[in-house]
């Protein structure tokens, strides 16, 4: 590392932002127009190039980890649109995540933020059983008159803003969870061509059990034997993106050990963030000689649902008369962690367009983040809503009947935007759209 004389790096321990990546940035600025936060402020420090430079400043010991540093690292959505535009191929996401890990590890944030993260991500999400119990309580609130009380409370500003905001952005908890309702092994009626593991996920499991069900039905229809390992946990991405690397690694290790016990061809994901993160398992344990190979063997078999279906020749068995979407205008929003992190953009479009009788229209700025970004819409409500507005304006301009996307975070966020604007547009996960279109 090129260090200013007598200066010491401000980073310590493991999870230090990679020197190699920091030095490979050619500061050309081509990332700037793709960055949602730069477009909000117009300030270099909230651009990927600026953030890389201040991370480098801390690494070189010319900057300290200040309040401003922490703010900028957390202001970033980690949407990784900059990676798509970067001529030098810098893995910016891993730099910001490493910087956040440093912030978390050294408790540079306020105590409240640090311990909220610790409880929420490290404790609650680390045990899926705990999460399910908490979800049941949340569902009680959502389905009882407490909900209307919160609504009234919001009017009169009884609750702190963050609580009433999180209430309206909290996912609607499903009646039953797919980890309870789905069998551990489900076999198709037709000849089984692939054996796939389904990651039921954390949020997907408790709030989008129906989408998991749609996914299973599609996979069966495609000739897959579906395995739903009972003891699976959250993939670890939420923790990693927010700096809690230790918890993320524990979860990744658990899932790797668990999945390795099964005989399977692919792990199929219907959540963009989880897919992106599980594809990194190999990289995360790169230095762990004992475990690296195992993790890598898992990563190599991770596929997004659309990636898997398209690459294995999915054909919608379609009865034209039964297609409920016949004559509908359909558009697609690219989830950041599909298009930018996994470079998956062609596959879902091909699948959607394969449904006869629909009119596919391209959404302007379809690869621009919707502002959901994990828990960003709760931690940075106002910024997130400004980013959402841009997405909603683009949807308005396109004027579709149906918007499709492949990630639970985007579903929650865009639905919030559509509801606020009282727009009557159907919002569907790609799995749901395909299942219904195929009538399976």
């Amino acid at each position: 590392m090129m260090m200013a004389e007598g200066k010491k790096s401000g980073f310590r321990g493991i999870n230090i932002p990679s020197d190699e990546l920091l030095n490979n940035c050619i500061h050309c600025g081509l990332c700037l127009p793709t960055c949602p936060t730069y477009s909000l402020t117009g300030l270099e420090k909230s651009s990927p190039r600026g953030r890389i430079r201040i991370i480098k400043g801390v690494a070189e010991g010319t900057l300290s980890i200040s309040r401003e540093f922490v703010y900028e690292m957390n202001f970033c959505l980690d949407c990784q649109a900059c990676e798509t535009s970067c001529p030098a191929g810098i893995k910016y996401g891993s730099l910001v995540e490493a910087a956040r890990a440093q912030i978390y590890q050294e408790k540079y944030e306020g105590r409240l933020a640090h311990y909220s993260k610790k409880i929420l991500l490290g404790w609650l999400f680390e045990s899926h059983g705990r999460l399910k119990r908490a979800a049941r309580i949340l569902r009680l609130i959502q389905t009882s008159y407490i909900q209307s009380l919160i609504g009234i409370g919001k009017e009169f500003r009884v609750f702190p803003r963050k609580i009433s905001n999180s209430n309206s952005l909290a996912p609607k908890i499903s009646k039953s969870y797919s980890s309870d309702t789905l069998h551990e092994s489900i076999t198709p009626n037709i000849h089984s061509r692939y054996k796939v593991i389904l990651l039921t996920g954390c949020v997907m499991d408790v709030a989008f059990a129906d989408i998991n069900e749609d996914t299973v039905q599609l996979l069966l229809h495609h000739g897959c034997e579906v395995i739903v390992p009972r003891e699976q946990q959250c993939c670890g991405s939420l923790q990693a993106h927010n700096g809690d690397i230790a918890s993320a690694r524990r979860l990744a290790q658990h899932n790797t050990e668990l999945f390795s016990r099964y005989d399977f061809d692919y792990i199929v994901m219907n959540s963009a963030g989880c897919g992106a993160y599980m594809k990194e398992y190999g990289e995360i344990f790169r230095d762990d000689t004992r475990f690296a190979e195992k993790a890598n063997s898992i990563s190599k078999r991770v596929r997004d649902l659309t990636e898997f279906l398209n690459d294995t020749g999915f054909h919608p068995a379609l009865n034209r008369n039964e297609n409920p979407f016949f004559g509908k205008k359909v558009t697609y929003h690219d989830a950041c962690h599909l298009v930018h992190a996994q470079h998956i953009s062609e596959q879902p479009r091909k699948l959607i367009k394969s449904i006869a009788g629909i009119e596919y229209i391209e959404l302007r700025e379809s690869t621009w983040c919707c502002g959901s970004a994990g828990i960003y819409n709760i931690t940075h409500y106002n910024d997130s809503m400004q980013i959402l507005r841009r997405k909603i304006d683009n949807i308005k301009q396109a004027g579709p009947d149906i918007v499709i996307t492949g990630n639970p975070g985007c579903l929650i966020q865009i639905l919030h935007g559509l509801n606020q604007e009282k727009m009557h547009i159907e919002l569907l996960h790609t799995a749901t759209f395909l299942r219904r279109a195929c009538g399976v």
């Binding site: 490979n24 500061h27 270099e44 430079r53 201040i54 191929g89």
Partner: protein
């Protein structure tokens, strides 16, 4: 040193919210797109009104500090890198398209409007703003005017200066003046508007720019041609021009670049060929067809290996991507990418490329070449690593020789990036001294206190702008190795 009382005055001019001087802010405004150079400013200001800019410039004259204007900071010659005792003045937030006048084919814009956004906006109205620098997705029009930016369409459509009708500008003494206007002809006195184009922020700060627009070409056709030998490609270019065809785009990639592009983007390009040409003709559909046929015949005459012609926009985009990703493909090879922009008369392209190849070999450096074959503007790109001191020193020597050769062949050291800091030593070495002296005198008369971007283009004597802005840790090692002297 800028006195703290001066900084307080600055703060009161722009307001607390538009004045920044934290270590983080200073660091992120210490660089632009130029490799190797950086220096911390004393502060950063974000003026909201032209009157504020005027007051800042007056204050700079009274209290002697320098102002470095900055748009997106994507320049490649160091034009927006701070000099000693300077403040950075941001203009990127002035980003409104004020008027598109369809009757006079003109548009008033603020200097922070992004080039590509303006293009998209006017094209939606059936109009066209041709200057198309490689960084159009992020470059600001203010920066384009300051550097007189070029791009891919130079051959047929010219460069930024051909599309500027007028501007509102804050002069080095703080006066605000409107130059030019919507009338096509204007010979009332010295041509001051053109004089300010390409002045690299040393003679004025634009607050509004009046652009000339033209009707959007009806149609276009794209073709990609492969050549076994570089000379065949060059001969084809000469023959196309000699046959009175003026393609909108006439770009070339050399073998190194082709191989890097193929490694990176897998476009199924033949990697053994010495050159490829990307050719685009636009205009009336009938003329286009005729031109494409003629070009194909000419290329075949010069032993073209394969000619690919796009049949629709999707195919055209595919063919274009070979040129489009050239920079990205090269930038990935090594950590540091030094992209230069020498020009030579079209007829000398082959000699220039031969010279570059020879020089690269002599200094054991890796060079990729691509560029605007149609207008003789080449991008010799050195793939290196700024941490390797001796290699950087070799690169410096190599560029010195390349610039010298370009001038000997009747060309220029920079075709579109500007001189800024990165090339001022070469400008001083390779420009006739009366010309440099004239530039210095003009600067001295208009900006006697050297407040606007001093030390850019040429050094001021005595060196009032301070030493070249290098990272402190960098400069010592380079000097020890004998560089930058």
């Amino acid at each position: 040193m800028i006195a703290s009382s001066t900084l307080s005055k600055l703060k009161s001019i722009v307001g607390q919210d538009n004045f920044f001087d934290s270590p983080e802010y200073k660091l992120v405004y210490s660089y632009d797109g130029t490799p190797l150079l950086s220096q911390l400013p004393v502060a950063i200001v974000r003026p909201q009104l032209k009157e504020q800019i005027s007051s800042i410039v007056q204050l700079a004259n009274n209290e002697r500090f320098a102002i470095v204007p900055r748009g997106s900071g994507s320049g490649l010659s160091g034009g927006s890198i701070p000099t000693e005792d300077s403040i950075v003045l941001l203009t990127n937030h002035w980003n409104k398209i004020l008027e598109v006048d369809q009757r006079n084919l003109a548009a008033w814009v603020e200097p922070g409007v992004i080039t590509a956004q303006l293009q998209a906006e006017v094209e939606s109205l059936g109009l066209f703003y041709p200057p198309d620098p490689g960084s159009a997705a992020i470059s600001t029009l203010g920066g384009n005017v300051a550097e007189n930016a070029g791009g891919l369409r130079g051959l047929k459509y010219g460069v930024t200066k051909n599309y500027i009708l007028g501007m509102e500008v804050v002069l080095p003494n703080g006066d605000v003046v409107l130059l030019g206007g919507k009338s096509v002809k204007d010979v009332a006195g010295y041509n001051l508007k053109d004089f300010l184009i390409g002045s690299e922020g040393t003679l004025g700060i634009y607050t509004k720019i009046l652009l000339k627009l033209i009707p959007k070409p009806e149609d276009s056709s794209t073709m990609l041609v492969f050549f076994d030998r570089l000379t065949d490609a060059a001969e084809s270019v000469s023959d196309i021009i000699a046959s009175r065809i003026t393609p909108a785009v006439l770009e070339f990639l050399d073998n190194t670049t082709i191989r890097c592009v193929e490694d990176y983007a897998h476009l199924k390009l033949p990697t053994a060929i010495e050159a490829l040409l990307l050719i685009e003709v636009d205009g009336h559909p009938l003329v286009i067809k005729e031109d494409v046929d003629k070009i194909a015949v000419l290329c075949k005459k010069h032993h073209a290996l394969e000619i690919k012609i796009a049949h629709d926009t999707e195919e055209a985009a595919k063919l274009r991507s070979a040129r489009k990703v050239a920079f990205s493909a090269l930038a990935r090879v090594r950590p540091t990418t030094i992209l230069e922009d020498v020009t030579v008369p079209r007829s000398e392209i082959v000699s220039m490329l031969d010279k570059i190849q020879f020089i690269a070999k002599k200094h054991s450096l890796q060079f990729g070449n691509f560029g605007h074959a149609g207008d003789g503007n080449l991008h010799p790109t050195c793939l290196t690593d700024e941490r390797d001191i001796s290699e950087i020193h070799q690169a410096e020597k190599a560029f010195d020789e390349i610039f010298t050769e370009a001038v000997l062949l009747g060309g220029a050291i920079t075709g579109e990036h500007g001189v800024g800091l990165a090339k001022r030593q070469f400008l001083e070495k390779l420009t006739p001294s009366p010309a440099i002296e004239m530039m210095r005198q003009i600067k001295k008369v208009l900006d006697p206190n050297a407040v606007l971007n001093p030390g850019k283009i040429f050094s001021l004597k005595p060196h009032c702008e301070g030493p070249m802005p290098k990272n402190p840790e960098q400069i010592k090692k380079y000097l020890d190795a004998g560089a930058f002297t």
